[in-house]
């Protein structure tokens, strides 16, 4: 079975799986300085890592990129020139309020479907899609329920494994953990984390914190809304689009008021006492939200900006998080 790789949360894994292909959401490593991209001045480290990961990937049967961020959109131009793997660029609108953009998203899913069929996938049947969606939804529910019981890294890695491999038995009994992590309740907010940057979760917990909300793109903020199981059986594709396009709140949305509404409910509901704001250098979308977030919330906010690469920065990040927690 061909594997289709992607990283954007607005790409529904269920849709790829319904075409008989294996979806795999990748979380890249930080790019080596000598990586295949070449000069990377001004390039977001996550985009750089993704490009390098795709170029060096020998297993993928296809790649899906979205237009959610400008640099990722332009990564498409690089990949079609540097990689032999077929690449699909999916338009994901930034606006969300009107029917026209919702239809555009659905049309793009259908176009993605044609791309997948071109790679050897089969046209999806509604029943197949429904069953796959139910499987994913059950696993997601189980993972989200376990969030309060798992150490932050384990939780993040569970979400990552789910994105990479899809639902499996390992996600069904995940709530049996009775472990309650102690510490100052924290949220981590931002774009996606590269694999190395999962360290920040360990650092926060080692410093006496407890991540009760992983609101990064690779955390629970990047998971779609639960499916309405009644609507799902009637019109699975519509429900899929609604849960992804309507259910994932991101800084890139215009306006992105939904992100703050989502954050407000989670921060209050989980008793968060401090926010770690994680962003990559050259990520304008998240960088621009930092000051606004500080103005918006009464909670203390710690800015962690990183290029995601070296040990010196890791020490700096650790020191800053330790100091932050001392003040809390």
């Amino acid at each position: 079975m061909k594997t289709i790789i992607y990283t954007c949360p607005y790409v529904p894994a269920e849709w790829i799986a319904a075409h008989g292909l294996q979806p795999s959401r990748i979380i890249p490593d930080a790019a080596e300085a000598e990586g295949p991209l070449g000069r990377a001045e001004g390039v977001c480290p996550y985009v750089q890592g993704f490009i390098n990961e795709v170029i060096t990937d020998k297993q993928a049967g296809g790649v899906v990129i979205t237009t959610v961020c400008d640099q990722m959109r332009r990564a498409f131009d690089i990949l079609v020139r540097r990689s032999d793997v077929p690449v699909f660029l999916m338009n994901v609108p930034n606006t969300w309020q009107n029917v026209g953009v919702q239809k555009l998203y659905i049309d793009e899913l259908k176009r993605l479907g044609r791309f997948l069929i071109g790679l050897g996938g089969k046209p999806p049947l509604d029943d197949t899609l429904t069953e796959i969606m139910l499987g994913y939804d059950t696993a997601r529910t189980s993972i989200l329920a376990a969030g309060g019981y798992l150490p932050a890294r384990e939780y993040a890695e569970t979400i990552a494994a789910f994105g990479r491999d899809g639902p499996g038995e390992e996600f069904t009994d995940i709530t049996k953990h009775e472990l309650r992590i102690e510490g100052v309740p924290l949220a981590i907010v931002g774009g996606p984390l590269m694999r190395q940057d999962f360290d920040v979760l360990d650092i926060a917990e080692q410093a006496g914190g407890r991540i009760v909300l992983n609101a990064t793109e690779t955390g629970e903020r990047g998971m779609c809304a639960p499916f309405d199981r009644r609507l799902l059986r009637d019109e699975p594709l519509m429900e899929l689009a609604s849960a992804y396009f309507g259910g994932i709140q991101d800084a890139s949305r215009r306006p992105n008021s939904g992100l703050y509404k989502w954050l407000k409910s989670k921060l209050v509901g989980r008793g968060v006492r401090g926010i770690i704001f994680h962003r990559y250098l050259w990520c304008d979308m998240w960088h621009a939200e930092l000051r606004r977030l500080k103005d918006w919330t009464d909670l203390p906010v710690l800015d962690i900006d990183t290029t995601g690469d070296n040990e010196t920065r890791r020490h700096r990040t650790a020191n800053r998080i330790h100091a932050f927690l001392e003040t809390l």
């Binding site: 070449g38 000069r39 990377a40 001045e41 001004g42 390039v43 977001c44 985009v47 237009t67 961020c69 400008d70 640099q71 959109r73 332009r74 990564a75 498409f76 131009d77 690089i78 079609v80 020139r81 660029l89 338009n91 609108p93 930034n94 606006t95 009107n98 026209g100 953009v101 555009l104 049309d107 176009r111 044609r114 800084a251 890139s252 215009r254 306006p255 992105n256 250098l281 050259w282 990520c283 304008d284 979308m285 960088h287 621009a288 939200e289 930092l290 000051r291 606004r292 500080k294």
Partner: protein, 460 residues
């Protein structure tokens, strides 16, 4: 035609102005000494070199009096629309109304240059969390806060989607500061699938018909919002008339660009050409006067070409310039180094190509919007640049990076590779901040090296 064409300083322009006055050259109501704009804090003017024609004087005075025009328009009861990011589409619609004036607050990105950072706009942006890692267009935030550089518009309209992240993020920040924005979606332009209905866009690229339909529906939302603001209906007849006027601007610019880029002797400096091209975006807040300014400029250039005179040596290296510069002085610098502009792609070719007049007007505008080089891929952009190089005979390409701009990090490499695959010509990238003074020697050295390379290759 004016006297012998040459580039002169601001001081020399004052003397020249007296000459023109004595010769009875008519000045528009916004005319006058160029140096008077120094009183507004436009200190960069002291360091620029200007074309010495009366047409250029009119162009500069027109540009530097836009703020007054906006205040006058408001005082005269017109609605002010701040159009953002789409660089040319919405103003065509806005100027089709009787009582609407549209302008780009984005244009504030040149204020740090023109005022040599004295306005403090970038510091204000810093204080709002938009630091130097963003494109200089962040100056727009400061301009909204101070209210000193343009009146706050009655309505803001911003395109988003296939745009640069910097601007989208900055506009969102502006919205969060209490300036509501009507967002409209412009999707990434893609190639039509093999069995998909397609249309040709101005500029030559094809697009799927469904994308045109989508953009048309978004522009319909914009039209409704404008009608609400203007308390005036915009029917097809009015919009078609607006497109016709916009095309007049584009026709003059096309002739101007052709002559400026292909005449044996360069008839008009790069700086004035840049400003003339910029007029196409929102007509510098007066469409009728823009047509007049361009007509006079074109007349001057035609006369110079006919007389076989120009402002640069005949052997100037022919450079194709990609992206607008944040520091206007760099356009002078290219010429000081022995280069001339032979082709430009300042990110708004869609504002220069003729808008189809044989289509329903909203569809024509939708096609224009989709032809935006920022909306398509870097590969498309490179293809367009290559087509122009082939037509114009450019000898080198200079890609001017905009500091912090999200698109500049990756597109330069794609454009460079494609140009070099198709033509055996040098490509150079430089980064141009709003004020280049501290790095002027470096920029100069790189430009000189490019010019020398071009000239050396002629001898091969």
């Amino acid at each position: 035609m004016s006297d012998k064409p040459r580039r002169i300083t601001l001081e020399e322009w004052d003397l020249r102005y007296e000459q023109l006055q004595r010769a009875g050259v008519r000045q528009p109501d916004y005319g006058g000494l160029l140096s008077r704009h120094l009183e507004d804090g436009d200190q960069r003017l002291l360091k620029l070199r200007y074309d010495n024609s009366a047409a250029a004087l009119r162009l500069w005075n027109f540009l530097l009096t836009e703020e007054d025009r906006l205040h006058d328009a408001r005082a005269g009861g017109k609605k002010l629309i701040g159009t953002m990011k789409d660089l040319g589409t919405v103003p065509v619609m806005a100027y089709s109304f009787d009582n609407v004036v549209a302008f780009y607050p984005d244009g504030a990105w040149w204020i740090p240059c023109v005022m040599e950072l004295s306005a403090g706009l970038l510091s204000i942006a810093d204080s709002l969390g938009i630091d130097e890692s963003f494109c200089p267009v962040r100056a727009m935030l400061g301009a909204f806060i101070t209210g000193a550089h343009f009146p706050v518009p009655d309505r803001l309209i911003c395109s988003v989607g296939a745009t640069c992240d910097d601007f989208s993020a900055i506009a969102q920040r502006l919205s969060s500061l209490g300036h509501p924005i009507l967002w409209w979606e412009i999707p990434h332009r893609r190639k039509p699938d093999s069995n998909e209905a397609a249309v040709n866009l101005p500029g030559g690229f094809p697009a799927p018909k469904c994308q045109v339909e989508f953009v048309k529906s978004e522009l319909t939302r914009v039209k409704t919002a404008l009608e609400e603001s203007a308390s005036e209906q915009l029917d097809e007849k009015k919009l078609s008339a607006g497109i016709k006027e916009a095309n007049q601007v584009r026709r003059y610019l096309a002739e101007l660009r052709h002559l400026a880029f292909t005449a044996e002797l360069c008839p008009l400096p790069a700086l004035e050409m840049l400003i003339a091209e910029m007029l196409a975006i929102h007509f510098c807040s007066d469409r009728r006067e823009t047509i007049g300014v361009l007509k006079e400029l074109l007349g001057e250039v035609q006369a110079r070409v006919q007389a076989g005179v120009g402002i640069l040596d005949a052997d100037a290296a022919k450079i194709f310039w990609v992206n607008p510069v944040a520091d206007l002085q760099v356009m002078n610098l290219l010429e000081d180094c022995g280069g001339r502009i032979c082709g430009t792609e300042y990110l708004f070719t869609h504002a220069l190509d003729a808008i189809p007049q044989d289509l329903p007007p909203l569809e024509a505008l939708a096609r224009m919007a989709l032809a935006d080089p920022m909306v398509g891929s870097s590969t498309d952009r490179a293809e367009r640049i290559c087509a122009d190089i082939r037509k114009l005979g450019s000898e080198a390409v200079l890609i001017s990076r905009i500091p912090g701009a999200s698109h500049c990090a990756l597109e330069g490499e794609v454009i460079s590779e494609i140009v070099q695959e198709k033509f055996d010509i040098p490509v150079l990238e430089i980064e141009v901040p709003p004020v280049t003074d501290s790095m002027r020697p470096t920029v100069r050295t790189r430009l000189e090296a490019l010019v020398e390379t071009v000239k050396a290759r002629r001898k091969r």
